[in-house]
Assembly symmetry: C2
């Protein structure tokens, strides 16, 4: 039997009392470790985090908490090789894909360490200026932000065991709010190891970080009105979370990031440079992390006249993508994280193929150093249809793998209509050379997206990528994407703070500074 990974709650490492769920190497099929949370005293665990961890973090200033984030980043940086090894084994990722997760997490921590330092030696924030409540200036209203007196529970997804942890934990800890992490089971090893390294380094106050590996059963039952919950995963689970009494009855604040059918949009008369940029970005987004990114491009919109040309160019790039064992240096794209994901991608592909043509077939790729019957590898597939309006499922279903669909549009207005059929997405990228057209399209798409990424030839070498989530920018999306807001620089702190108006004499308000 493989190692049973411990949970860290109530300030000590505790093994679950059950048999546990196994974590596998998705390329080799070998069992790597097990996770189990059976028998933990969850009420005590949550009380310890909320009371001991919360009090300790709130006693620190923003600047001190920012310094803590910097130290955590340093600990992780020093153990980076370990994380790359775990990621290769448990996530089946090539090095550049591991970097998105591991280095992305460390970069996010470091960014919040820097931004947090600017908040200085204080324990609450002022929100805007004081406003008069009448003609006499002696009585005014000042909004303040205070850390919520509860904990933050993170129910995370399997695709980003590092980044998914730190992009949430960094703003929470900076806000003075203790965190309880429930990683996605299939890849929980990396999350658990990182938390273990940070805890072992003795950096964080008792109760500030807890981790529960295995089933999420019972976790939400522990949530109290001042706790917050952040969930990344499927829309179906999101519905259950929203209906749970913690949210529905106890007003627990919840942030959800769910399904998203993101778009890339080539503007009319965009020019050949922009076409090349689109082709490159689509091929890259389809294959990074084998398409297991909530921000990956799923729909590609081009003017009707350029459909065939773009189909050919993307296909040609995809054909060069070597797929297989990430330990082989020649491999560009590793595997999906599990057999369950492989089956889900195959099932989704079959559904989409009923209403599209296959422009590039992932099944043609011969796996490198990997056994097709064992490895959860799948080649990238580009689908397409000439009738973008009729292909309803293309706008409604997210296939969480290296799959995208090319769709032609008749006019700029038609293009925007089609993009909006995603009913709210995390990100759309727009390609063109005319600044005014790019700006107006970005504004058209902004109300149905959390982020619009504009790629023009002048930033060909500078832009940060359609799918990369930068801590400076909002991450989240309305509607189908869950309606959440993460990151966005210091805006991320809002989720972990409570806003209040203090109405008082200006003499009293002066003491709030």
């Amino acid at each position: 039997m493989s190692e049973l990974l411990s949970n860290f709650v109530q300030g000590r490492w505790q093994a679950g009392s059950g048999a546990g769920a196994a974590l596998f190497d998705p390329v080799l099929g070998t069992e790597l470790a097990r996770v189990d949370a059976t028998g933990l005293d969850l009420p005590a665990a949550f009380a310890h985090a909320r009371d001991t961890g919360g009090a300790a973090l709130r006693a620190l200033t923003y600047a001190q908490r920012a310094e803590l984030l910097g130290k955590i980043a340093a600990v992780l940086q020093a153990k980076r090789d370990d994380y790359y090894a775990i990621s290769t084994a448990n996530s089946g990722t090539v090095k550049k894909d591991t970097a998105v997760d591991v280095d992305g997490g460390i970069y996010t921590l470091s960014t919040y360490a820097k931004m947090g330092a600017t908040l200085g030696d204080r324990r609450h924030l002022l929100d805007g200026d004081a406003a008069r409540l009448g003609k006499d200036p002696l009585f005014q209203s000042q909004h303040v932000l205070l850390p919520t007196r509860g904990l933050a529970l993170f129910i995370n997804a399997f695709n980003f065991p590092s980044w998914g942890l730190w992009e949430k934990a960094a703003p929470a800890l900076l806000s003075g709010v203790p965190v309880v992490i429930k990683p996605g089971t299939a890849t929980a090893w990396l999350t658990q190891r990182m938390v273990k390294d940070v805890v072992d380094a003795g950096l964080v106050p008792a109760g500030a970080i807890s981790i529960v590996c295995g089933s999420s059963a019972g976790l939400m039952d522990q949530l109290q009105p001042f706790d917050v919950l952040s969930f990344t995963g499927s829309a179906d689970t999101a519905t259950l979370i929203r209906q749970h009494p913690a949210v529905a009855q106890r007003s627990v604040r919840v942030n959800i990031e769910a399904d998203s059918i993101n778009s890339a949009l080539l503007l009319p008369e965009a020019g050949s440079e922009a076409v090349d940029l689109l082709v490159k970005e689509v091929a890259r987004e389809m294959t990074v992390k084998s398409g297991q990114k909530c921000t990956a491009i799923r729909r590609v919109f081009v003017p009707e006249a350029q459909y065939a040309q773009v189909a050919e160019a993307i296909s040609a790039r995809l054909a060069k993508t070597t797929v297989g064992n990430p330990r082989n240096e020649s491999v560009r794209m590793g595997s999906l994280v599990s057999r369950a994901q492989l089956n889900a991608v195959r099932a989704g592909l079959a559904q989409l193929k009923d209403l599209t043509q296959v422009l590039h077939d992932g099944a043609q790729h011969t796996l490198v150093d990997a056994e097709p019957a064992v490895a959860c590898c799948v080649g990238p597939t580009l689908l397409g249809t000439r009738d973008a309006d009729a292909a309803a499922l293309v706008h409604d279903m997210e296939v969480f793998g290296p799959v995208a669909t090319l769709l032609p549009y008749r006019s700029a207005e038609h293009a925007v209509q089609l993009v909006r059929r995603g009913q709210g997405s995390l990100v759309a990228s727009v390609y063109g050379a005319d600044a005014a057209a790019l700006a107006s399209t970005a504004l058209e798409l902004a109300s149905s997206h959390g982020r619009v990424h504009v790629i023009s030839p002048d930033v060909a070498a500078l832009h940060t990528g359609h799918g990369n989530v930068m801590p400076q920018s909002l991450h989240g999306g309305p509607g189908r994407a869950g309606g959440g807001e993460e990151l966005g620089g210091l805006k991320a702190l809002n989720f972990y703070h409570r806003r209040a108006a203090v109405q008082a004499s200006t003499t009293v308000l002066a003491k709030l500074n």
Copy 2:
């Protein structure tokens, strides 16, 4: 049969096809009007608001929408006498209580008209400054705010038929979002009349304002992902709303304002002036609108040594409150809005009396010009208990009438603990003379309240009142109070906008301005 009030949807006045629910004069017991929404084509009604109303409002600039709010306020101001008459008849309120609702609504509209004018001739807002995404300054991220491409459904409470409408409609319309109003049935007449006057004045674009009177059945089924929902009412209904598929599955953004057990806190060694201010404010808050304000003081915390003195002083003020028919000039406090509310208040009082003493008994008040068997009038009752910790129900149950409970505390820390047992409230008021103590207590309470109102002798004549909701300040509260945020000046616009990060070349970002 009384008049059946029409609904305004799809740009025309439509009567329901059912018998309708009757609205009564709560003092005289006479039937005033009926409301019914049976048979309306709700899908068409919502589509008209969303598509026609939304497009028309979004075509206006913020400055133009602000001008519209100013014109609406002027129409209402001109018909103010009508509204006072309706309020007296249907809500049983004395003039100064009618003013809180009617004039409060008009003031809120006027305030948003002024604030909105500062946003100028634009149709989207920039949110903060652009941030670099790397060392090179050519590629940056700029957050923008766009009006959501949906409608705002307001499911409102019976206690503020005017203010409850306009405090929500003002920021929605200013944001460019059409509104559909479902007023609380018992007092729907005033809301319906105000909407009728505004529609008849021909000011608002087609589809911008709709009103459905009667049952809320089926309204939420119509909500789509980019619609938003604002609810004011009971925690039980709030739970049902959160669990509805519109919210749980379709990510409809929801704002909830529910039960709140607000506090008044006299600081230790506050001085006699502060004691007087507390006594005056508690008596006022208990009786304004017969205590039917979500912001009314329900719990009064004083140092143990001052319990008897404060009990006597508040009781003496309450004894002078004349209760009865609001048409009689000598009456200070009118009636509750309905027999259902009267029964609920009596039932709640009976429960609280099981664990408290009656310090002033509302039953002693003889009704003026009103028939006790008919009028929904109830005198103000002050309860009290020497054991604030043991009286769990006092911290957990909101009696929505002229009822408050006096509670002694042992230390400043104990006081804050007790206040927090409300598990999240709309507002707490703090009374004292020491600016530093007032400020630190305000910060202690800020994380569990939407607003902290500080009353010190220097603002005795200036402060805006514990329970009055000023448009400049946040209205809402965490936890039991529902977790919502309304008003707060231009912060209110956030609920009706979608935030997105635009990542682009600085040349493109320059075009967003």
